[in-house]
Subunit: 105 residues, 2 copies
């Protein structure tokens, strides 16, 4: 508990090679120790009224905000952003200290 | 690993008693065994370009999609939705099988 969370949801532009991009993201995240946990997924329900067109969610946790800050400016992350940002049609980012009621087991 | 995730981000309407509403949500989630884990948070960065005005994130995990389905129709959840939905200015919901690269410890 007590993690600092960085949650990102996106809709990619048409024509983007999403699988390749996510492989690059996984490689980037694997190489940065500040990232405590990383999971992602593709919405399977596709109710437009609920997803608002967003298709992918990426969830990262950090031990504290300073670790997220260090991640943000890490050269591997900066480099990855150069290919990630132009691939996005839209994005929402939420950064917050996590309040845990039921912990993952 | 292998959870099915239900990720919700919202912006509340002006004047909504957010703390009380979240207390009700915590009570509701505590009483439904299908919910494996539950955490939430309020964005602390407030970069409008990134949050798009969304302020709160709620993440629930389930052992499988069927458990999420059971949660959706659970009477306590249905009851809670009656006070939650009218309080929202906007919402995005993403439902997805989680692919875990780094597991939470």
């Amino acid at each position: 508990m007590g993690t600092y969370n960085h949650y990102v949801i996106v809709k990619f532009k048409d024509g983007v090679k999403v699988e390749e991009l996510i492989q690059e993201m996984e490689k980037m995240v694997s190489g940065i120790d500040h990232v405590k946990s990383f999971e992602w997924g593709k919405d399977t329900e596709g109710h437009d009224m609920l997803t608002q067109g967003f298709t992918h969610a990426f969830l990262m946790t950090f031990n504290e905000k300073e670790a997220l800050n260090a991640f943000q400016v890490h050269p591997n992350h900066v480099e990855f952003s150069k290919i990630f940002s132009p691939a996005l049609e839209k994005i929402v980012v939420m950064d917050f200290p996590s309040i845990t009621l039921k912990a993952p087991t």
